[in-house]
Amino acid sequence: MSEDDILVVENLTKNFDVGRGQMVRAVDDVSFSVKRGETLGLVGESGCGKSTTARLILRLIEATSGSVMFEEQDLLKLPTNEMRRLRRRAQIVFQDPYASLNPRMTVRDIIGEGPLVWGMKANLDDRVAEVMTRVGLNPDWAKRYPHEFSGGQRQRIGIARALALDPTLIICDEPVSALDVSVQAQILNLLTDLQDELDLTLIFIAHDLSVVRHISDRVAVMYLGRIAELGTRDEVYERPSHPYTRALLSAVPIPDPVTERNRARTMLEGDPPSPLNPPSGCRFHPRCPIAQQVCSEVEPVLGSEAVGHPVACHFAEAIPQV
């Protein structure tokens, strides 16, 4: 663990028992670290384990094995009451701005609940007004209910709730994917502004590569519960070395019809396989355009020898760069 790492996740694994003796490995041996003040983007298709990873880190779901070092403590080993104390330092912003706010509580009660349960009774209203202003909400709206707000405003309420406890780390679980494009940009800019002002560390989960590119310092690409590629934003976007990353990037539309029409595409066929019964060897091999015999037999490890940043592919160095 290097000194400026705020969070180090090692070998994090979660098996869900789905009955009849079957297990789903939703998250399989995932390791990464996050430096203080940076934004780590976590991308992948639906069902690849991004959101589960977020919930495992915060122990909203209990992990099967692995460790999560946060501020020099292994969260997964902490007894419940000590874990509760650390929750103030690590918060989460959710995807669905409708499901994430209690419809029967006022905005004041939603945002103020964290400070309230942590004993800030005296200046609660001031504190709520302060964070509301910070996220661009009018403090006069504190007495209103969530149903009166638009999606973007609700997401601001969700962010304010997370900020109210002065956390150092905020995990954003697809915070903009339920919003209109114009509102997405507002929320993303709000998050980056807050990060600068409050010295926040962000883990930003999304399935939208453009959003992640815009906001991240480093990016981890997940496929079927494992990390396929991990690097700085430029490494991943300029020199994608896992065929899966390349396929994802080639699916991002380019806002120029001529370029868009003429560029070469790596099309992915089929859906991701069921995590109930993942493919042998490399999990990506049934959909991989460059798969060979070895790919179905040997599982590649996440190594950085080939291209300078960690990639889990047998043929990472062989991939032609554009």
Binding site: S100, L101, P103, R104, V117, R161, V181, D208, P253
Partner: protein
Amino acid sequence: MTAPSRGSGAPLIDAAFAEPPSDDDLPSLESEGLAEKPIPLWKLSLRRFLRHRMAVISVVLLVIIVLSAVFAGLIAPYGETQIIPGRVFVPPGADHLFGTDSIGRDNFSRVLYGGRISLAVGVSVAVFSGIIGTIVGIVSGYFGGRLDSFLMRFTDTALSLPSLMVIIILARILGRSVFNVVAVLTIIGWMPLARVIRGQVLALKEREFVEAARALGVPTRRVLSRHLLPNLVGLITVDISLAVAVAIIAESTLSFLGLGVDAASTATWGNMVGTSEGFITTAWWLVVFPGAAIVITALCANYVGDGLRDAFDPTLKS
């Protein structure tokens, strides 16, 4: 207020970020369309309830029924057990609105007094089984695991017993009194609600606002009382109002069978019907009036329940 699309957003193109919106582009605090005055949730619910005509009529009728039972002492022309000499089996008329019975008691007065017990039993049973069902349902649904398995198997077992048989046996063991009738009906009445609540809690606890509360470090007891319970209030209220109807009918059944409240000392609608069923051909009024009271009250309680269900259902917007 415009609702944004809730689907997963279309892929953002980089161009959207080429020029990050300046602060001026952000909606100014005042301009973004919030209604002038906040509309409290209860007001929206009330509006929806008032649109349910049968429910509103039922509320009015129930209020009349409850008031006339509560103020029976003022309204009733005769006492509950007062025997009027020489007035046996008088048919309904000007002197005796609902007629008189085999020993000369005024049937109208007895229906009013009987309503006290029937309504009290109905409401208490509904409330007590509502409380038990809610607690069992929340605990079972939220904590899950073995506790859940145990509570639900227990509930399943209790539900699969033939209820009339259990009522009769319990009533025999406990003896005849108003309190015991309430106890018996509560013991067999809480299970359906417990299962409904459990199902709802299973769905609610996966909602992100419950996860958010846990992530904030909100103690479990507060999660249950502040996040789960308020979102179950609609369900519980509806169930209680429907349970009132069921309990009134169950009380009548018990009393009709002679296992409820003792007819000699206290009138209830059920035991009034029970003790006079032999006179149905000769003095129909002794069966019809208390019987009608049972049916009308139960019907009204059901309509109110329906109205409340509509009022609390958030999927039926405005």
